[in-house]
C-alpha cells in the first residue's frame, strides 16, 4: 500500500495538468538545489510537519494524493516507508516549497527540472496484495438478500455486469475492485483525472480577481481614478460628482491622517470624550470618507469632525458600497496596470505547457527580488535548521539596516516618541531635494508640541498616545519619487504642508484638550453604585468600546464585529492583569460575511521574515525600502513589487497600498500556499432513515431544501455531491452520469465498512444533476414502511470518512436517535430525575472517544462533519458533538422535532438549511493567530483542532463560526505603547481559489489599573468567561463553573473597589465600563448551559454549551442576554431608514416582568428565536392591526407568523422585526405568546432579572456579590 511518493515516476509526468506540475515540481526542486538550499517556502500555514510518523498515518486512503505531491527526494527518501504514504500535513504543507531560495537554485535549469517532474504512476499503488485480498473477501461483504425491498433501484451486486463497469473505471489492472483496500487505492488513483479536470480554470495564480462583492463597479473606479490626483490640490474648486467625491474624500482623508499623524500622539480623540458616542466612532473606522469636510473647511474644528462622525452614523449603508468599490476596484487594477510595473508579474500558471519553461524563468527572477518569502515555522528538524541558517543569512543581509536603526526595543520606543529630529535629518540628508515647497515659514510650531507631549510622561504615556509610524519622515524620503512619477501627487508628501491647513492644528489641539483636560474622569470609569442604580441597561444596544488610539489608527483598526479583545487597553504586565482580575482574550469572527472587503491579487504577499506576520496598517515604514514588523519588531525589506501602488497607480508609495490601508484584507494566495491543488467543493449528506427518522419526517424538508438550493450550493464546475443513508445497514447511492436512475447499494457489514463503488458515489453536481434530482425526489418516500429502528451511525461515519478522505469537504450528518449499532454505539446516560438537580450534573463530557478520533481523522483529511440532531429523546449530544467540535463542523439541534406536530421546529430547520446550504464556505482552512511579542495565547475555544501551539486546523470554515482565545502576558510590555493581534485565515474558496483573510487589531498598552478598567469590553469579557465556564464544567463540574462565574464578578469588583475607586466600601461600586458585568453574569448563570434547579434536559444543556463555544460574539450576546422591546406603541421617533423602509427604534427594556404591562405587547429577541408576548389587556387595535385577529381571545395558541396587513403599525412592526432578523445566520423563528398560554414559561425564563425558584433576582445577586466582597 505504499506509493513511493518520493520517487516520481517520469512516465507519469505527462498526466498532470501543468499547474499541478508547478506545485509538485517546486516541491521537488528545493532539495535539488545545491548546498543548504534553504527553502523559503512558507507553508501556507507553517504547519508543522513531523517527518517520521505522520499525522495521517492511519489513513491508507491518502496514498493517492500524496502520490501527486512527490515530496522532494532529498527530503523524503530517507524516511521509513510508511511515512511516505502518509502524513497528510507534511504532504499538505511542506510540498509547495515553491519559492526556491537562493538565486542559484532558482535558475532556469532548476526550474525546468522541477517542472519536468511528475507524480508517480498511480498503478504502482495497485501492486499490493491488499487488492486481491479485498477481492476475495468482497463476496462476503455483499448484501445479496433476495428480498431486496427497494425494487426501483437495481441492486448493484446482483448484476454481475456491474463488475465490469467497476473494473473499467479503475482500469489500472486491478483484477477486482470490491475489496475496500483496493477500493480506496483506486479512488485515489483515479483522483487526479476525476476530480480536477478543470483545474487550470481554478488556478488563481496569475489571474485577476476582483472583490467578490462588486466586480461590476470597476468602470466607476476607472473614471474616477484619473481625477484622483488632481483632486488632491486643496481646495477642490467644484464639488465633484458623487462617485468621485467618495474617493476624493478618502484621499483627503489620507492626507489629513498624515497631517494629524505628524502631530504625534497629541491629537487623539479621547475615548472618554463625553461628546463623542462610541457608536459613530466605530463606524468611522469602516467608512473613512466621513471626516473629509473638515479639510475643505479649515475653520472647522473638533466639533465639526464630531458632528461629521455622527452624520456618518446615519448613512453608513449608503456610503459603504462606494467605498468598497474603490477598494475592490483598486485591488483589481493591479493586473491591468502591471504592464507598467518594472517587475513583470509571474505569468499565469495556467498557460499551456509550452510556456512552462519560460514560466520557470520568471519564477527565478521573481524569487530573486522577493526578499520576503521567508522561512516558516515548519516543523521537521531539518527544515528548522535550514530556517535558522536562513535567518542568519537574513540577519546578515539586513544587519546594516538593523544597525542603522537603533537596537530593537529602545529604538521602537524612540521611533515612536521622538522621531521628529530624525525625520528632519533624514529629509535633509535625502539626496534629492524635497520638491514639495515649503512656502510658509510656519512649519515649526506644529511639530514642536509633538515631541514635547510624550516626554513628560515617558513612563505612563497619555492615553491615545500616538503612533506616528514614521510615515511623515518616510514620506519625506518618498516625496522625490512621488513627484517623479506623478508630479501632481505632491499633495501627498509629508507634514511640511500641513501649515497650509490651520484647521488641522486647531483640530488637533482641540482634541488634545479634550482628551487630556476637559474630561478628567471618562464615562467608562465613572463609579456607579450598582445597588442604587435601577436602570443599568442602556436604552440602546450596547456598543463595543473603541480602543483609545489616535484618530488615524482608530480608523484603520479592525472592525469590532470581526475582532474584539476583552480589554481594549492592554495592561503592561501580567501582574497588572492579575490585579484587575479580568479575563484577557480575543473574540474572533474571522469569516464573517462582509460587504466591503479589499481583495488583493499580488505575486508577493508581503510578510515579516521572522514571524510571518502579514503586512498591515500598523507596521512602520523606516524608509521607503524597509518596514518594521509590529509584532516582532524585525526590520524587513519592502519588495520591489510592493513599491507600486495599484490604488493610485503610482510608484514608491508602499504605505498607500491597500494592505497598509485596511486592517481587514483578503489575499489571493499563490501556489506557495497550496500543498495540493485547491480542492473542489465536495458535499456528502449522511442521512438517518431508521423508523424514528422517517417518523419525524425531516427527509421531506431536507430534500425539498436541497432541490431548491441545488444551484446555489457554493462551488464551481467541479462541485461534487453524494448521499448516504443508514439504519442498521448503510446505503450508498450510485449517481454516476449515464445511469438511467440512481442505484442504491447496500452494505450490511457494518463491522468492516467498505465503499462499494468509490468513484461513483461522489459525483459531479452538474453532470449528474438529473440523477440527483431523481434521488432527492424519491428519498422521502423510499423508507416510509421501514421497521428498522437501529441506527448504525458510527459505521456510516466511517464510510463517509473513507469516501471523503481523497478530497476533503463537508459531511452533513442527520441523526435522530442514539446510535445503537456498530462502532460508536452509545448508551443512554441521562437520568430524567436529575434534570432539575441543583447538585451534580453529570455526563457533560463524551462517553467514548470514537467520535473524537473520527473527527481528528476527518480533520486530517480536511473533512468537516456537521451534525444535525433532530431527536425527540436523549441522544447523547455530548458524545455526538465531538464529531463536529474537532473537525471544525457546526452543530444544529432540534429537540422534539416533528414535521407536523412541531411546525416551528420544522420551519426553523427549513430556514437553517437554506442558510446552511447557501452560505459561503471555505475548505481546507487553517487559522493562525499572532500577537505582539510578550503576549501569548494559551487556550482556544471554538470548533477546530489545535494542531500546534497557535495553528488551528479548520477543515471547513463558515461565516457563522466564532472563536475565542485566552491570552496571557508573558513579558512586560513596558517598551511598547501598542500591541497588535493578527489572525490569518488561509482557505480554499468554493471556487477553488486559495485565499488568505487577514484581520489586524491594534490596541494601546496602559500601565495603570484605572485605565485597564476603563477599557473593559464587557460583552467580550462575558463571552470569554462563558467559554471558559463551559470548559470548566466539562473538565471539572458545573457547580465549579458557576462558582467561577460568580467569583469573576466578585473579584473584579472588589479589585476595582479596593484599588481604583476611593469611595466607601459599603456600596457595590463598579466602573461604568463594568456596570453590566453582574447583570450579564447573572444572565449566564440562568442560561440553559449553566442553570441549575430548573429542569433542563441534558442535550439542551450540552447544545447550549456547544453554541457558547462556537457562536460569534454578536449572536452569543443575544443568546445570553436577549433584547426586549415594547412594540405596541412603535413610533417613528428616532427611526432609521434602511432600504427605503422606516425602521422604528424602540428603547431596550429591562429583562424583568416589572416592565411587562398587561396593556402592552413585547418583542423579545433571543437571537435564534423571537417571542412576541401579548398582554391580556393589550389594545385591540394593536391585535387587529398587527396580528390580524379581532381580540385577545381569538389569537391562536401557536402563531409563528405576522400577517402582512396594510396598516401603519403592522408595517412598523414587521419592518422592525425584519431589520432585527437581517444579517444573522440562524434565521429566527417567531413565536407569538399569549399571556395565558403554556408557552409563556419559555418566554418568562428569559426574564433574567427576576427571581425564580432556583435563582437569584438581579438585586439579590448584587447583594450576594456585595456580601462576598465584604467577606
Amino acid at each position: 500500500m505504499s506509493a513511493p511518493a518520493g520517487s516520481p515516476h517520469p512516465a507519469a509526468s505527462a498526466r498532470i495538468p501543468p499547474k499541478f506540475a508547478g506545485a509538485a515540481a517546486s516541491g521537488a526542486a528545493a532539495p535539488s538545489g545545491p548546498g543548504p538550499a534553504p527553502h523559503h517556502q512558507n507553508g501556507p500555514a507553517h504547519s508543522q510537519m513531523q517527518v517520521p510518523s505522520g499525522y495521517g498515518l492511519h489513513h491508507p486512503n491518502y496514498i493517492g494524493p500524496s502520490g501527486h505531491f512527490p515530496q522532494g527526494p532529498g527530503k523524503m527518501t530517507s524516511l521509513p516507508l510508511e511515512s511516505q504514504r502518509g502524513d497528510y500535513y507534511s504532504g499538505l504543507y511542506t510540498v509547495p516549497t515553491q519559492n526556491v531560495v537562493t538565486p542559484c537554485t532558482a535558475n532556469q535549469s532548476g526550474a525546468q527540472q522541477m517542472y519536468g517532474r511528475g507524480p508517480p504512476a498511480p498503478h504502482v499503488v495497485g501492486s499490493t496484495p491488499g487488492s486481491f485480498q479485498g477481492a476475495a473477501s468482497s463476496a462476503s461483504h455483499l448484501y445479496t438478500s433476495a428480498s431486496q425491498p427497494y425494487s426501483s433501484f437495481v441492486n448493484h451486486y446482483n448484476s454481475p455486469a456491474m463488475y465490469s463497469v467497476n473494473s473499467s473505471v479503475a482500469s489500472q489492472g486491478f483484477p477486482s475492485t470490491c475489496g475496500h483496500y483496493a477500493m480506496s487505492t483506486i479512488s485515489n488513483a483515479v483522483y487526479p483525472s476525476v476530480s480536477y479536470p478543470s483545474l487550470p480554470a481554478g488556478d488563481p495564480y496569475g489571474q485577476m480577481f476582483t472583490s467578490q462583492n462588486a466586480p461590476t463597479v470597476r468602470p466607476v473606479k476607472d473614471n474616477s481614478f484619473p481625477g484622483q490626483n488632481t483632486v488632491v490640490s486643496y481646495p477642490s474648486p467644484l464639488p465633484p460628482p458623487p462617485s468621485q467625491q467618495q474617493q476624493q474624500q478618502q484621499q483627503q482623508q489620507q492626507q489629513q491622517q498624515q497631517q494629524q499623524q505628524s502631530l504625534s500622539g497629541y491629537n487623539t480623540l479621547s475615548w472618554s470624550a463625553p461628546g463623542l458616542p462610541s457608536t459613530p466612532d466605530s463606524l468611522i473606522r469602516n467608512h473613512t470618507g466621513s471626516l473629509a469636510p473638515t479639510n475643505n473647511n479649515p475653520t472647522n474644528t473638533v466639533a465639526d469632525s464630531l458632528s461629521c462622525a455622527v452624520m456618518q452614523n446615519v448613512q453608513p449603508r449608503k456610503s459603504s458600497p462606494v467605498v468598497s468599490t474603490v477598494l475592490s476596484g483598486a485591488s483589481s487594477t493591479r493586473m491591468p496596470s502591471a504592464a507598467k510595473h518594472p517587475t513583470e508579474p509571474v505569468a499565469p500558471v495556467t498557460q499551456p505547457s509550452e510556456l512552462i519553461q519560460q514560466k520557470g524563468m520568471q519564477y527565478g527572477e521573481y524569487v530573486n527580488n522577493q526578499a520576503s518569502s521567508a522561512p516558516t515555522p515548519l516543523s521537521s528538524t531539518s527544515d528548522d535548521e535550514e530556517e535558522e541558517e536562513e535567518d542568519e543569512e537574513a540577519g546578515v543581509d539586513s544587519s546594516s539596516t538593523t544597525s542603522s536603526a537603533s537596537p530593537m526595543p529602545n529604538s521602537y520606543d524612540a521611533l515612536e516618541g521622538g522621531s521628529y529630529p530624525d525625520v528632519h535629518s533624514s529629509s535633509a540628508s535625502s539626496p534629492a531635494p524635497d520638491p514639495a515647497p515649503e512656502p510658509d515659514p510656519a512649519p515649526a510650531p506644529a511639530p514642536a508640541p509633538a515631541p514635547a507631549a510624550p516626554q513628560p510622561s515617558k513612563m505612563a504615556k497619555p492615553f491615545g498616545y500616538g503612533y506616528p509610524i514614521l510615515q511623515p519622515g518616510y514620506q519625506n524620503a518618498a516625496a522625490p519619487l512621488n513627484s517623479g512619477v506623478h508630479p501632481s501627487s505632491q499633495g501627498y508628501s509629508g507634514f511640511q504642508q500641513y501649515p497650509q491647513y490651520p484647521g488641522v492644528n486647531q483640530l488637533s489641539s482641540g482634541l488634545g484638550g479634550l482628551s487630556l483636560q476637559s474630561s478628567p474622569q471618562p464615562e467608562s470609569l465613572r463609579p456607579i453604585n450598582l445597588t442604587q442604580e435601577r436602570n443599568v441597561l442602556p436604552m440602546t444596544p450596547v456598543w463595543p468600546p473603541v480602543p483609545n488610539l489616535n484618530l488615524e489608527l482608530k480608523k484603520l483598526n479592525c472592525s469590532p464585529d470581526s475582532f474584539r479583545c476583552t480589554l481594549t487597553n492592554i495592561p503592561q504586565t501580567q501582574a497588572l492583569l492579575n490585579k484587575a482580575k479580568l479575563p484577557l482574550g480575543l473574540l474572533l469572527h474571522p469569516f464573517r460575511d462582509l460587504t466591503q472587503l479589499p481583495v488583493i491579487t499580488s505575486n508577493t504577499i508581503v510578510r515579516c521574515r521572522s514571524c510571518r506576520t502579514y503586512i498591515n496598517p500598523f507596521v512602520s515604514f523606516i524608509d521607503q525600502r524597509r518596514w518594521k514588523c509590529n509584532l516582532c519588531y524585525r526590520v524587513n525589506d519592502v519588495p520591489e513589487e510592493f513599491m507600486y501602488n495599484p490604488l493610485t497607480r503610482s510608484y514608491g508609495e508602499p504605505h498607500k497600498r491597500p494592505e497598509v490601508q485596511n486592517s481587514t484584507v483578503e489575499f489571493i494566495a499563490s501556489s506557495d500556499y497550496m500543498l495540493r491543488p485547491p480542492q473542489p467543493a465536495v458535499y456528502l449528506f449522511v442521512l438517518d432513515v431508521s423508523h424514528n427518522a422517517v417518523e419525524a419526517g425531516y427527509l421531506t424538508i431536507l430534500c425539498q431544501s436541497l432541490l431548491e438550493n441545488l444551484d446555489k450550493l457554493p462551488g464551481d464546475s467541479r462541485t461534487r455531491i453524494g448521499f448516504m443513508t443508514f439504519d442498521s445497514t448503510i446505503h450508498f447511492y450510485n449517481l454516476q452520469e449515464g445511469l438511467s436512475q440512481p442505484q442504491m447499494l447496500i452494505v450490511s457489514d457494518i463491522d468492516d465498512v467498505f465503499l462499494p463503488t468509490p468513484d461513483s458515489l461522489l459525483v459531479n453536481l452538474y453532470e449528474s444533476k438529473e440523477l440527483i434530482k431523481d434521488l432527492l425526489n424519491a428519498l422521502p418516500n423510499m423508507f416510509t414502511n421501514t421497521r428498522e429502528t437501529h441506527s448504525a451511525l458510527g459505521p456510516a461515519l466511517q464510510a463517509a470518512f473513507k469516501l471523503m478522505s481523497p478530497t476533503g469537504g463537508r459531511v452533513s450528518v442527520f441523526q435522530t436517535q442514539l446510535p445503537s449499532l456498530g462502532a460508536g454505539l452509545l448508551q443512554s446516560r441521562e437520568d430524567p430525575n436529575q434534570r432539575s438537580s441543583t447538585k451534580v450534573v453529570q455526563h457533560l463530557g463524551p462517553a467514548t472517544d470514537f467520535y473524537k478520533k473520527l473527527a481528528l481523522d476527518c480533520s486530517g483529511q480536511q473533512t468537516a462533519v456537521d451534525l444535525f440532531l433532530l431527536s425527540s429523546q436523549y441522544s447523547d449530544l455530548a458524545s455526538l458533538a465531538c464529531m463536529s467540535k474537532y473537525s471544525a463542523g457546526c452543530i444544529y439541534y432540534y429537540p422534539s422535532f416533528h414535521h407536523t406536530h412541531n411546525p416551528s421546529q420544522a420551519e426553523k430547520l427549513q430556514k437553517d438549511l437554506k442558510r446552511y446550504l447557501t452560505r459561503k464556505i471555505g475548505f481546507e482552512a487553517v487559522m493562525r493567530i499572532r500577537c505582539t511579542k510578550g503576549l501569548s495565547m494559551h487556550t482556544f475555544h471554538g470548533n477546530f483542532f489545535v494542531r500546534s501551539t497557535d495553528l488551528l486546523s479548520l477543515a471547513n470554515i463558515n461565516p457563522d463560526a466564532g472563536f475565542a482565545v485566552q491570552l496571557s502576558i508573558e513579558e512586560s510590555l513596558t517598551d511598547t505603547s501598542l500591541v497588535c493581534f493578527q489572525t490569518a485565515l488561509l482557505y480554499t474558496s468554493s471556487k477553488g481559489e486559495r485565499r488568505i483573510r487577514v484581520h489586524t487589531l491594534c490596541l494601546p498598552v496602559v500601565s495603570s489599573l484605572a485605565d485597564v478598567y476603563a477599557g473593559v469590553d464587557v460583552q467580550a469579557a462575558i463571552c470569554l468567561l462563558a467559554n471558559m465556564a463551559v470548559d470548566r464544567s466539562v473538565s471539572s463540574s458545573l457547580s465549579d463553573a458557576r462558582d467561577a462565574l460568580v467569583n469573576a464578578v466578585v473579584d473584579s469588583l472588589s479589585a476595582y473597589g479596593s484599588t481604583v475607586s476611593n469611595l466607601q466600601h459599603s456600596a457595590l461600586i463598579a466602573p461604568g465600563s463594568l456596570k453590566l458585568f453582574p447583570l450579564y453574569v447573572l444572565a449566564l448563570l440562568k442560561q440553559k448551559a449553566f442553570r441549575t434547579g430548573t429542569s433542563t434536559r441534558l442535550d439542551d444543556r450540552v447544545y447550549a454549551m456547544c453554541q457558547i463555544k462556537s457562536q460569534p460574539l454578536v449572536h452569543l450576546m443575544k443568546m445570553i442576554h436577549p433584547n426586549l422591546y415594547r412594540i405596541d406603541r412603535l413610533t417613528d421617533e428616532g427611526a432609521i431608514h434602511v432600504n427605503d423602509r422606516v425602521v422604528p427604534q424602540p428603547p431596550l427594556q429591562k429583562l424583568s416582568a416589572e416592565k411587562l404591562t398587561r396593556e402592552g405587547a413585547f418583542l423579545m429577541d433571543c437571537g435564534s428565536v423571537f417571542y412576541i408576548w401579548i398582554g391580556k389587556g393589550c389594545d385591540n387595535n394593536f391585535i387587529e392591526d398587527v396580528l390580524g385577529y379581532p381580540n385577545f381571545a381569538s389569537i391562536p395558541q401557536k402563531m409563528t407568523h405576522l400577517p402582512e396587513l396594510d396598516t401603519l403599525s403592522s408595517e412598523r412592526t414587521r419592518s422592525f422585526i425584519t431589520w432585527l432578523k437581517d444579517g444573522r445566520p440562524l434565521s429566527a423563528v417567531l413565536h407569538v405568546v399569549k399571556d395565558e398560554s403554556p408557552a409563556k414559561t419559555e418566554f418568562f425564563q428569559h426574564l433574567i432579572e427576576d427571581r425564580t425558584e432556583a435563582a437569584f433576582s438581579y438585586y439579590e445577586f448584587l447583594l450576594h456579590v456585595q456580601q462576598q466582597i465584604c467577606k
Binding site: 510518523s53 499525522y55 483542532f945 494542531r947
Partner: protein
C-alpha cells in the same frame, strides 16, 4: 537474593529514566511545533501503561522484599501514576489528549511532571546502585 532484587530494580529504573527522557523530548518537540499534537499524543499514550507497570512492579518488589523506606519513597509516584490513568475521562484518548494538550497550560504541566519523574528516577537509580553494591559486598 537481595542483590538480584536490586539488579532488577536498577534495570527497571534505567528503563524508566529512558522513558522519562523520551516523554520530555516528545513533549518539547510538540512545544516547538516539530510534531503535531495528534502524533505526539499517540506516541506518548503508548508508553503510559508500560511506565505504570514498570514502576508498580518495582514498588511491589520493594514491599515484598521488605525494603520499607524505598517502598514508601516509591509509593506516592506509583499512586499518582495509577490515579492519573484511572481518572482519564471516558471521552479522552488517553492520558495525553491531542485536543486538550494545548489548552490551559496542560503541555507545561505534563512537561513539569515528566521532569519531576526524571529527577525521581535518577535519585532511585543511585539508591538502587548503592543498595546493590552493598548487597553484593554483604554477599
Amino acid at each position: 537474593m537481595e542483590a538480584v532484587v536490586f539488579v532488577f530494580s536498577l534495570l527497571d529504573c534505567c528503563a524508566l529514566i529512558f522513558l522519562s527522557v523520551y516523554f520530555i523530548i516528545t513533549l518539547s518537540d510538540l512545544e516547538c511545533d516539530y510534531i503535531n499534537a495528534r502524533s505526539c499524543c499517540s506516541k506518548l499514550n503508548k508508553w503510559v501503561i508500560p511506565e505504570l507497570i514498570g514502576h508498580t512492579v518495582v514498588t511491589v518488589l520493594m514491599l515484598v522484599s521488605l525494603h520499607w523506606f524505598i517502598f514508601l519513597l516509591n509509593l506516592p509516584v506509583a499512586t499518582w501514576n495509577i490515579y492519573r490513568f484511572i481518572m482519564v475521562p471516558s471521552g479522552n484518548m488517553g492520558v495525553f489528549d491531542p485536543t486538550e494538550i494545548h489548552n490551559r497550560g496542560q503541555l507545561k504541566s505534563h512537561m513539569k511532571e515528566a521532569m519531576i519523574k526524571l529527577g525521581f528516577h535518577l535519585l532511585c537509580f543511585f539508591m538502587y546502585l548503592y543498595s546493590m553494591i552493598l548487597a553484593l559486598i554483604n554477599d
